[in-house]
């Protein structure tokens, strides 16, 4: 089955209206761990952007900071083009919702589907008919008819249905942005496609903006308009999905792509060594100790932070 509507000419449907973004953002833990170390990013209204990279590269920290859950050490989070006001986050917290993965504990096993979806409405003291709002969110997440799911418990649902309940919980608050952190990484192959199809449909039907954090490049190929590749706290390559994934410019992106299981693949570039340590970021290009095509100047070169202007760009001295 094919879920989701293919976009006519494969072009992004984004509006060009800035929705959520970061400028020169840094998040340092304990004065040493530079988890996010200078990030510029803009996600436009109605756009789906995939943030990809190995574990430990700072994806979750960046996502949490965009959600207002973590305060930047330096730089700014922007919502609709305006800097976030940390004394007035109430409205923002409704409009930007986090979606986690059910198998990793997003649902409480002792709460019914109804209570799980109503929880956010109650926390935010949203006025209006609670049952109608829960019903609408469940339908939007593809759980129809919604009343049939009200009194079920997570263990009585399939993996796909549980993940839909998690998404319905976010939708109940009528957000404008979903930030999904590894929404499908431990789900079965069959469920994965269903959930990705749902994210696409929500963008098409509700105009939602989606930032999806993942190490799964196939996911990005499936649904993202643009891809941002993160390495050790920085975005090292960004651009339209087809450009970044079909003609990657940064050696790190090339290596990541080469290890995606694919029988048509020519040659794997398996990077050795340990996941890099954000407490000890190398000088020069931060990727140089693991770079298969490193040049002498890479140990000292100062690479500027990739800005938010449109197009395909990479932070590498080999790219002119």
């Amino acid at each position: 089955m094919t879920v989701g509507q293919p976009v006519a000419d494969g072009q992004p449907v984004a509006s060009g209206q800035p929705m959520i973004g970061a400028r020169d953002l840094a998040v340092v833990f304990g004065g040493r761990v530079r988890a996010v170390d200078g990030v510029d990013l803009e996600v436009d209204a109605g756009e789906i952007v995939a943030l990809v990279g190995e574990s430990g590269c700072g994806k979750t920290t960046l996502a949490r900071t965009l959600l207002g859950l973590e305060k930047p050490t330096a730089g700014t989070v922007l919502f609709e083009g305006k800097p976030l006001d940390y004394r007035r986050l109430k409205d923002f917290r409704r409009q930007v919702q986090l979606v986690l993965q059910d198998p990793l504990g997003a649902l409480n096993p002792r709460h019914t589907v109804y209570d799980a979806v109503a929880e956010g409405l109650r926390i935010h003291k949203v006025p209006g008919d609670e049952q109608a709002q829960v019903s609408e969110a469940l339908s939007q997440a593809g759980l129809r008819p919604p009343e049939r799911f009200f009194l079920r418990y997570p263990h009585e649902l399939s993996g796909g249905q549980r993940q839909r309940v998690v998404i319905a919980g976010a939708l109940a608050l009528k957000p404008r942005v979903l930030i999904a952190d590894e929404p499908v990484s431990s789900l079965d192959a069959s469920v994965r496609g269903e959930i990705l199809g749902l994210l696409l449909r929500l963008r098409d039907e509700l105009g939602l903006t989606v930032l999806v954090v993942t190490h799964d490049l196939g996911l990005a190929w499936n649904i993202a308009d643009r891809v941002a590749v993160m390495y050790l706290g920085r975005i090292v390559e960004v651009g339209p999905t087809a450009d970044v994934l079909q003609s990657p410019q940064h050696p790190y992106t090339q290596a990541l792509l080469s290890v995606v299981p694919d029988i048509a693949r020519t040659e794997q570039i398996v990077l050795t060594g340990e996941p890099p340590d954000p407490a000890r970021i190398p000088t020069g290009c931060r990727f140089h100790p693991r770079c298969p095509v490193v040049l002498a100047e890479c140990t000292s070169v100062v690479l500027p932070i990739l800005g938010i202007e449109p197009g395909h760009r990479a932070a590498c001295v080999r790219v002119t």
Partner: protein, 313 residues
Amino acid sequence: MSLLEFRDVSVDYGDIPAVRGVTLNIERGEVLGIAGESGCGKSTLAATVLRLLPDSARVGGAVILDDQDVLTMTWGRLRAVRWADAAIVFQGALHGLNPVQAIGKQLAEPIRLHKTATDVDARVAELLTQVGLPPSRARAFPHELSGGQRQRVMIAMALACAPDLIIADEPTTALDVMVQAQVLDLLTSLVRELNMGMVLISHDLGVLGTTCDRIAVMYAGRIVETGPALDIFDDPRHPYTRALAGAFPRIGDDAARYAPVGLPGDPPYAGDLPSGCTFHPRCPEVMPECATTTVELRPAGPGRAAACLRVLP
């Protein structure tokens, strides 16, 4: 003679049939992949090899490892077989390692128990080197290691007594792509180097397609398709295999852009299986007779078989 042979193996948990008549074999130097959604019986089938199933499980058929039926072995003999003839690497490497003991000590335990080396420390160092860790890491505790390093320790553990067969149950499911590539590289090169056999279990047909020699696809406790890995991945014959293969898009395939492929519904509950072909309620190509006809594996090309009425010999 095969290294491992499943002969019509079945496993029931009480009155729930989790594995229903599986026949399969693995040769030395071969990597066999087992694919399928969660709950289809992959882990249960694998656990029969070392009889690691709970008491509630009733096992039928025969599991022949190195010419002996594991299912009828005495416990004494079975203890010798575990580690020395066959070893399991589990998912995620979270279980299986003792959090309060240095990894070198944990590696030494099976070596001492089975007396497979006289200089135990030297063997521990050799094992760590084999899996790409510096021997000095023997003093590290599990929490001091990254996920990928812990998985390497689990592999070293499985290699400790030089088994003929390794069973890797979702060894990379919790790991990211680069670490996954490192671990799979390591496993497959060890299999070739040491001329072992390996059973690799995964729900990711892409991983199996690039790593295995042959693949068996399971659905509801049965094998529904087997064949050479590349054939299965490239040209699946069973509609279920096609759905699994489609779920992981090939980057560059324009048909997959903005069109993720899923398979609606769920694998059936083992205690309440559909009639006829158990896949028929979810099958995109179902025919009326599928609900009433039990379909066995039938030839589907050179070295291939599929259990689908649409597959013509």
